[in-house]
Amino acid sequence: MKENHWLRDHWLILLTGVVVGTAALILTAAGNPKNMGFCIACFERDIAGALGLHSAAKVQYIRPEIIGIVLGSLLAAVAAKEFRGRAGSSPACRFVLGLFVMIGALVFLGCPLRMVIRLGGGDLTAVAGLLGFVAGILVGIVFLKKGFSLGRAYSVRKGEGLMLPGVMVILLVLLVAAPQLLKFSEEGPGSMRAFWLVSLIAGLVVGALAQRSRLCMAGGLRDVFLLKDYTLLTGFLAIWVTVTVGNLIMGKYNFSAVSQPVAHSQYLWSFLGMALAGWGSILLGGCPLRQLILAGEGNGDSGVTVLGMIVGAAVAHNFGLAGNPDSVVDGIYKVGGIGTHGMVAVVLGFVVLLVISLLHLPGKEEA
């Protein structure tokens, strides 16, 4: 009998995509905001709010999904003897890149993972984000082909690699044992949440599977354009198909470009926001989800990137850079989107990414 090589090579990434999509549907049914079962950018933004790093009252909560993803990755890596302390690949640049990836994602209102989940809910406004994400990745690939590199990471003590998982454990302890110290939204997306244990378990499962399969939204498209390899993209597509089918079965599929949950129809800025996130993700070597997974495996540089993203979320809300969803006010449909501050921040983000890209091409240090 002919052996099915494709299935043998892709079953894990397919399984991961199906599990991530199913977990997103379950979390939404259990209380998370619509089309936001998982969103790395939104959830890190909520964590920044819960810690008082920004004061946007509607988006504050310690999201156990983020904690679970990092700790799930840690546990899977330890079990497979793949946990290794590594660091030293331009951490300051990674912090700044993480900050602007977050700003780009919050302009769009979602990380690449939520972009797929929004598409799976029938949200046509997310198509602009997808096109922007692809455009950003293509720009990043141009610089990769020119030799862009943030430099290699080196082996370091395990303690360095345990820093971000340690921070996550502290956040979990605060959430469970001392929630009165934190700020929790009483209305808006931050107030919509599944029971913490359900969220934590979903995060643990997704983190472990993503560590084993290397699921990455940006890496999937990079491999397609650069290597003509579709393995990681399979996970991306599995999430989209699972969420689409699940929403259709539950009668929650809304194929439309208007009145989508926590989304806006300012298409140009959705495109540019995700272009910023896509370009930055390629320079970082992975999307926001992948950064959490790498941090769980002991990568201190990714830990710094995650901290940069959390600070980016605080900056986005303290300076009014993040997108506002479309809404209906007194029966009139009001288009949301970003204001002048947000537009300036996106343009500034492109300038910063260009400078970092140019400064890390071959030959710049030898002069």
């Binding site: 290397r214 650069l226 390899d229 992975g286």
Partner: protein
């Protein structure tokens, strides 16, 4: 469906080094192509150079002469 075969897989610490390896091999007419690093080699999602198994020694020598830092060279069925 492409059949699996034994190949020399060279993994690098950075994507830039893998792409430099590709340029070197193209310049010198050494057969091969860039692939995602096999999962059995590392959990990193970087890029590796895949070449015919018999080129292992040649590649190791040429990469060393060119100053390309290699994370590891493996013989794998891919």
């Amino acid at each position: 469906m492409r059949k699996k075969e034994l190949r020399t897989i060279a993994a690098f610490h950075t994507t830039a080094a893998a792409m430099a390896a590709e340029r070197l091999c193209r310049r010198e007419g050494l057969e091969g192509r860039l692939i995602p690093v096999p999962r059995s080699v590392t959990s990193d999602c970087g890029i590796a150079w895949s070449a015919p198994a018999e080129l292992r020694d040649t590649l190791e020598l040429r990469f060393r002469e060119a100053g390309l830092e290699v994370a590891g060279v493996y013989l794998l069925s891919v």
